[in-house]
């Protein structure tokens, strides 16, 4: 997550190295810093309630359905498009899942892949006029916004809210992973969560050391030793702390597991694969990408298809969390996802933006809501504060990019 670029392996002191690495990567680290500041402020103003295990666990679960949308939206914005249809698409597909479970009596294990497939199909349909005819994505997806809103109402018209009673399905939004049956001193603690956290930290450290060794073998520049150590310590510390907090409550929720899987997969695809590189190339300069043998159309279909699939996932998470499908599910999700992506450092000019950043962006936005709720701030003020944070994030982003030039 915090892979630092090194321009030169300076022989200077630790503090010099640190300030240099921070300065060079201020854009990447900016939103992490923002998240810390926000959490710190709320920790004080709520007398620590904000950082309580229960609240943090809730916070992560609330972020889930926006976070997966923000991941997909990141790629859509990277290729210079927008998708406004995702909110009601999520709502509509959540209703489809509910109908399939409740009225058709289909099993959860069948319903979930079916709905994800429908979502991908819906994304491809949105992409068609954009890729084939050059229709602006704003207009094409606005049409989708209207259509899916209508379809959501049709789906829930007869019955109103559809209550879902399938336990397996509802666990996705409300359940936690099972605990290991351990006694002794670990009885009060969710030991599987703890175990997973330890494995994750170990895996992370092994991976970092390995890649550093390879880089040194190739003779490439790497972070100075002290900074590298600090980075390992810092990230391990954060992961360890979150694990500890969650393990002291109910452990990892299924929502967080889903979120981690999605982020992990998309982070890998965008940073390490040919497809990911092609997506950023199309965003950076579509004409140059096309002339380099990359099909801009194909990339457009893939990105919108993935967006549709993640909309379906968002719809599943939301319906499962509410244990029902409602007529207004999905309202304004698209704008929350877009805001999260922008707070996370995506550039509207295209070609710039990280999946991990958008997740942080989503966490920032949910933290604001959660923290202000705890403080008892009125909803009207909450909107204003979130608006100001969004504007500040984008201004910070543009300003640091200018400075980097």
């Amino acid at each position: 997550m915090m892979s630092g670029k090194t321009e030169a392996q300076a022989s200077g002191s630790f503090m010099q190295d640190l300030s240099k690495v921070l300065r060079q990567n201020i854009r990447d680290y900016g939103m992490y810093i923002a998240l810390f500041v926000i959490m710190f402020i709320f920790a004080i103003t709520t007398n620590g309630i904000f950082l309580s295990p229960r609240n943090l666990s809730n916070l992560l679960n609330q972020t889930g359905y926006i976070a997966v949308l923000a991941v997909g939206m990141t790629l859509v914005i990277v290729i210079r498009h927008i998708d406004l249809s995702v909110g009601f698409l999520a709502g509509f597909l959540g209703a489809v899942a509910a109908i399939a479970l409740v009225q058709w009596g289909l099993p959860t294990l069948f319903v979930i892949p079916m709905v994800l497939g429908l979502g991908a199909l819906a994304g491809l349909i949105t992409a068609f006029p954009i890729a084939q005819l050059g229709i602006p994505s704003f207009v094409a997806s606005l049409a989708g916004w209207l259509i899916y809103r209508g379809m959501l109402q049709l789906a829930t018209e007869g019955t109103g809210t559809i209550i879902i009673s399938d336990a397996a399905f509802n666990a996705i939004g409300n359940g936690f992973i099972p605990d290991l049956p351990l006694g002794g001193p670990l009885e009060q603690i969710h030991s599987l969560t703890l175990l997973l956290g330890i494995v994750a930290v170990g895996f992370f450290i092994y991976n970092e050391l390995n890649s550093r060794k390879k880089k040194i073998a190739y003779g490439f520049e790497v972070l100075p030793n002290a900074i590298f150590g600090l980075k390992l310590l810092f990230i391990s510390g954060i992961v360890g702390w979150i694990t500890w907090v969650l393990a002291n409550f109910n452990g990892l929720s299924w929502t967080v597991v889903v979120m981690l899987l999605v982020v992990g997969a998309y982070h890998f695809i965008t940073t390490s694969t040919v497809l990911g590189r092609h997506i950023y190339a199309v965003g950076g300069n579509p004409e140059a990408a096309e002339l380099s043998g990359i099909s801009v159309k194909r990339i457009t279909y893939i990105v919108f298809g993935s967006m549709g699939m993640l909309s379906a996932l968002s719809g599943i998470l939301f319906a499962s969390r509410l244990q029902s499908a409602t007529t207004t599910a999905g309202t304004l999700f698209e704008l929350d996802a877009i805001a999260a992506a922008y707070v996370g450092g995506v550039s509207a000019a295209g070609g710039v933006g990280r999946v991990t950043g958008s997740i942080i962006g989503a966490l920032v936005m949910t933290s604001l809501t959660s923290g202000m709720n705890l403080m008892g701030v009125g909803i009207a003020y909450q909107y204003i504060v979130r608006g100001v944070v969004l504007a500040a994030a984008v201004i910070f982003d543009v300003a640091t990019r200018r400075a980097a030039r």
Binding site: V274, A281, L291, S292, V352
Partner: protein
């Protein structure tokens, strides 16, 4: 001898690193048609931009006298006010507005705060009669052909009581009838007292219409000739246009017997529905193994369109003809097909569609051939850095690291990144479109040396260039392109600037 209506004295205009105009003197008599000719980059358009105020007073040195007064234009509005109108090749009309709205755009006929549409239409009709254009003034511009649009532009200029009308390559996009029509109209306007400056590459046209001709070359005035004294003929103009010694800036290379044909193009024609005209007509050429073939011609002659149509990047063209790569007939529908067939195309517009400026050097170099670095589509980023560093050394790309953004590199180094990207594809045929445009002499020499060593290794190169010395200095053979056709083929031993210019202005 009447006094001049326009007198431009000692005009010098510099761009960073280039002197576009060097002490140019240009004088136009009232009521004449004065043609301005010269090679690409000779400074014709720059001179007209100085005159019309696009480059404001103070950004150049020298003096402009118009209608007996010294003028200091700060913008186009100033020059328009005194009666100078310039009509560019790219027409400045609003397609969705009507003919009469366009004619009076920015110069509306007012009645109080409102526009007097009835009066507008009445006056527009008069203007259209003046340019002998028979269209409904309420027609939309987009529904007219290019020739008629040009006449609307002239009508627009006339509506502002133009005294000096400047036309930049007005017939470049016109067919012969429309061209003849336009020239006729210009003669008519001259007889009504409108002075006209005409920039044209078509020398026959120049000879047919000019009262005087000024030749520019390398930013300097070479001479002004009087057509009525019999001074103007095609050979004379060509001699003045190209008359420079070719400097020895090309690395030596022995012209070897070329190998078998690697690329053959037969009866290649392309029609563009969006432009509404034939872009390429019956093009035939052959490229053999180990040779550099130059494609000479003037801007807009269709060379880039030819290259892109071969490379599979002309989605809206209707193409007829046959393409053979190494003896096998191929259908290259998109650039990835062409790359797979062993063809690479290095664009003339590296910032526009060559590089991804926000990405770094290594990402740009590997973009067209990422799969070579990937296992199961996962990129080996260490191998990528290694490859990029190899090209950085081999091509002498000056950058602090391969993780530098390409937007921070100089033009020459950006061009080397572009070339590296296409060499990494390991092509058999390398199409270079204006490979040395906008880069300094040192980098040029490096690129020429590279081209020589590539053909030495058996690659075949098509070099599209508007710089005649470069075409002559580098090519084994030269094809000359004009108006979407190949108008001639010359072996390097027979190619001269005069012959090429003659074929190019054909």
């Amino acid at each position: 001898m009447t006094t001049a209506i326009l007198e431009m004295r000692s005009i010098t205009k510099e761009f960073p690193g280039v002197k576009a105009l060097n002490n140019v003197t240009f004088s136009v008599k009232p009521g004449e048609i004065h043609c301005l000719v010269g090679e690409n980059g000779a400074g014709k358009s720059t001179l007209m931009k100085v005159l019309s105020g696009v480059y404001p007073h103070g950004s150049y040195t020298g003096e402009i006298g118009f209608a007996g007064q010294v003028q200091q234009f700060r913008g186009i509005r100033d020059s328009e006010r005194v009666g100078i109108a310039i009509i560019y090749q790219e027409l400045a009309l609003v397609p969705e507005l009507t003919v009469y709205e366009n004619i009076f755009l920015g110069n509306e006929v007012r009645k109080g705060a409102l526009i007097d549409w009835n009066e507008t239409i009445k006056r527009a009709t008069q203007m259209l009669a003046k340019v002998r254009l028979d269209v409904n003034p309420e027609a939309k511009i987009k529904d007219l052909g290019v020739g008629k649009q040009q006449l609307v532009e002239i009508a627009k200029a006339l509506s502002r009581n133009v005294k000096l009308l400047i036309l930049d390559e007005p017939t470049a996009a016109l067919n012969e009838d429309d061209s003849a029509n336009l020239l006729d109209l210009l003669r008519g306007l001259r007889d009504q007292g409108v002075t006209c400056i005409l920039i044209s590459h078509k020398l026959k046209e120049v000879i047919a219409i000019a009262d005087s001709v000024t030749v520019l070359r390398d930013g300097q005035t070479i001479c002004t000739l009087d057509a009525h004294e019999g001074e103007v003929s095609e050979p004379v103009l060509i001699k003045h246009m190209v008359g420079r010694e070719i400097e020895q800036i090309y690395p030596p290379r022995e012209h070897k017997q070329p190998g078998e044909a690697v690329l053959q193009v037969r009866d290649w024609s392309a029609y563009s529905p969006s432009l509404g005209r034939q872009v390429l007509r019956n093009v035939n050429f052959t490229l053999r193994k180990g040779e550099i073939v130059g494609f000479a011609g003037l801007m807009g002659s269709g060379r880039t369109e030819l290259a892109l149509s071969i490379f599979g990047n002309s989605p809206d063209y209707r193409i007829e003809g046959e393409l053979q790569v190494k003896g096998a007939t191929r259908q290259l529908r998109r650039p990835s097909d062409a790359i797979a067939a062993g063809i690479a195309y290095v664009t003339e517009d590296r910032k526009g569609n060559g590089l991804i400026l926000i990405q770094d050097v290594k990402q740009n170099i590997t973009l067209a051939n990422l799969r070579a670095l990937a296992q199961r589509s996962v990129i080996d980023t260490n191998a990528e850095i290694k490859i990029a560093n190899e090209y950085r050394t081999a091509m002498n790309i000056k950058t602090p690291s391969v993780e530098q953004r390409v937007s921070n590199l100089s033009g020459g180094n950006q061009q080397k990144v572009c070339l590296s990207k296409w060499l990494f594809v390991k092509p058999d045929v390398l199409i270079l479109d204006e490979p040395t445009r906008g880069i300094d002499v040192g980098a040029k020499y490096e690129i020429y040396t590279l081209m020589n060593s590539l053909v030495e290794q058996g690659m075949s190169i098509i070099m599209i260039s508007s710089e005649l010395p470069e075409v002559l200095g580098m090519s084994d053979r030269v094809y000359v392109v004009a108006s979407g056709r190949i108008t001639g083929e010359l072996p390097s031993s027979e190619a001269t600037p005069e012959k090429i210019m003659e074929l190019a202005t054909n």
